[in-house]
Amino acid sequence: MKSATALLAAASLALAGSVAARADFFQPVAAVGAVNDDAVVQGMPRLLSQFGFFTDGAGQAPAARVTPYRLNTPLYSDGAEKLRFVYVPEGKRMEANGDGLIDFPVGTALIKTFAFGEGRERRLIETRVLLHRESGWVALPYVWNAEQTDAALAIAGARMSVVTPAGEAISYRVPNKNQCKECHGLDDAVIPIGPKARNLSGEWLAANLGEVPAGAERLVVWEKRGASGAEAVARAYLDVNCAHCHRPGATASNSGLDLRWEQDDPHALGVMKRPVAAGRGAGGLLFDVVPGDPDQSILLHRMLSNDPGVAMPELGKSSIDREGTEAVRRWIEEMPK
């Protein structure tokens, strides 16, 4: 090992040590079964267990005030099972904001664990946490150890081999801390994406917010999508899987493509819109969406690719979403020419 490498390694060990030491100093171990509020609002805990979100990590049994939730239409993540939780500290409450993102008080943590395999075979891969601090939201990725006893902070991300539920062997990517912001960034701030009232059940909202705002549960429940029209299904899918980047103020704003649920201008949604900076991603096609002709639509072409530089979304998946691409195909097919 070159001396510089050794130095760097020593430096990063020291840094990790100092972070951990400081975290330990400021964050006395919380009472069993209670969340460590200090860890939520400051520092970068080295281990997921330091937050105290779970009474049983491997079993994903939540601690007090850590509430599971699901989204009607979820983001596709290589078919991973996703276990979502929200923690709100004692004495504070979430509030509705129309059909949009719930207003979460400072001190909130959103926790999402990614797992593959079923039953006894289930392996937890990573847990991503979003922490609402005075300075804004902070996103941190934690990777589970082989023994499944705890997960360690992995700010540079990781890659690992997994087999998807579809039986596909892939190199699964845990995003690095910066990549969290690529999807969660809006107008230079980090924000949550998923928990919007329109994508949550009325029942959950009533139980946890004490009200069901207008526009709640507007997005289809994905496994019941057969009961809804092609447009409702596809627009829900695009809102959840694409619009966190493809909207004004976000990572793909310069494309001019705006795939949010609330957008109703066909051109902004890609209909007969020419690409701007798609490069080879366009695959020789001329328009994002060609009504009635999914195979001539760049939007679908890029969803059907696994090639970095072509594939969309750019982050968060390494395989093609067959259900999602079918939903978008049907929407474009049925679109009046």
Binding site: A156, R173, Q179, G281, G283
Partner: protein, 396 residues
């Protein structure tokens, strides 16, 4: 929080003495070590990439203000993305006041370096190369700053981009200088941007050398105040290899300097040689559009004195044979479609399509010699180019 307040104090007192240097070396785990350094850096820190080849499996990203990433030279430190498995670019920068210098990126799967919303960025002696040469499956852009104010691109070299080697989009206060763009579809492209200076560059073996475009339906439009001067624009004769559908896929092989839409563009003191379709081309946006905010015409474009070594001797244009016959075997060097407004210094040889309407194709073209007036006044250079402070950021 503790560290954050220190950082804030540092910024407030501008005391760079406390900035730290983090050294990264090639070898095992380079992906994670380099990415970790980019994340853990504090504002003002420098990340030094020691010489050698770094095997990259994923895109890198930097989101800390005021960081310098410094390699051991554009041939000494090479980030090799040949095995890249994810992300849309080699390196993504999203923070302000960043300096990237003295390293190379090879074979990124998408773009080379993209900086988005990253104000006051300096790219110095960065090389981006797709080593197989022109190929439609190469990444789109080599150097790709977008939606930013304050951009200095100095001494970079880009080869093989399937769209534009150096592409500046939807930005303001820009300088691209002393750089080499070779064997890309577009060598240097300034798009939907204002106050750009493109000077002392070499654009060669591209399909088109230097392009200044303004396109509709984008968040930022109204490109203009652009100066293209003292560039060597030579032998841009590579057949267009852009994937169809891209705006640059329509660029004709052999275009030297091309202006499409925009207002107030000055082209002067360039050397244009071996650009067989048109050494200089000034045209309106060519496609149908639906955007009331957009002006498709080139306005107040000025062609000053340039050195033309020949004109369009092998134009990739419909009716080329007839045109060549009509103009005596070679088209005059400046091609205008006749739309918008163009001025040229006395003695500028050119020809016009004499179109009267934008976006209606060339059917109504009535080609004839260029007849335009000389520039009425000196070109207003105020506010054009990168802010002077970026020179200091470049430092030693």
């Amino acid at each position: 929080m503790f560290r954050l307040s220190i950082a804030a104090a540092l910024l407030a007192t501008a005391a760079p003495a406390l900035a730290e240097t983090h050294v990264v070396t090639p070898g095992d785990g380079a992906q994670e070590r380099l990415q970790e350094a980019l994340i853990m850096a504090q504002p003002g820190d420098e990340i030094v990439l020691e010489a050698g080849r770094y095997a990259m499996s994923d895109g890198l990203s930097l989101d800390v203000e005021g960081v310098t990433v410094r390699g051991a030279g554009m041939d000494g430190t090479v980030l090799d993305f040949t095995g890249q498995q994810g992300a849309g670019e080699g390196l993504l920068v999203t923070s302000d006041n960043v300096t990237l210098r003295d390293f190379a990126l090879e074979n990124p799967k998408g773009d080379g370096v993209k900086s988005k919303g990253a104000d006051n960025i300096v790219y110095h002696r960065i090389r981006v190369t797709w080593t197989r040469g022109p190929h439609p499956e190469n990444g789109a852009y080599g150097i790709y700053p977008v939606e930013s104010t304050g951009i200095l691109v100095d001494g970079v070299k880009v080869t093989g981009a399937s769209d534009a080697g150096i592409y500046v989009g939807q930005s303001d206060r820009i300088t691209v200088r002393n750089s080499i763009a070779e064997a890309n579809v577009a060598g240097i492209e300034i798009e939907n941007s204002r106050n750009a200076l493109v000077a002392h560059n070499v654009a060669t073996r591209n399909t088109g050398g230097i392009l200044v475009f303004d396109l509709p339906s984008l968040p930022v439009m109204g490109g203009g105040n652009v100066i293209i001067e003292n560039n060597l624009v030579v032998a841009n004769d590579t057949p267009n290899f852009a994937p169809p559908g891209n705006i640059v896929a329509g660029v004709r092989r052999g275009t030297g300097i091309m202006v499409m839409a925009n207002e107030k563009v000055l082209i002067e003191n360039n050397i244009l040689s071996g650009n067989p379709t048109a050494p200089v081309m000034v045209i309106a946006y060519v496609q149908p559009y639906d955007d009331a905010r957009y002006n498709p015409l080139p306005r107040e474009v000025v062609v000053g004195p340039n050195s033309y070594d020949g004109g369009g001797y092998d134009p990739q244009l419909d009716g080329a044979e007839m045109l060549l016959a009509a103009f005596g075997g070679e088209l005059p060097p400046v091609l205008w479609d006749g739309l918008g407004s163009l001025a040229a210094v006395e003695g500028t040889a050119g020809w016009s399509l004499n179109l009267t309407e934008a976006g209606k194709g060339l059917g109504a073209a009535q080609p004839g010699p260029l007849a335009v007036t000389a520039p009425a006044s000196a070109f207003d250079r105020s506010g054009i180019g990168a802010p002077a402070a970026l020179e200091a950021q470049l430092g030693g």
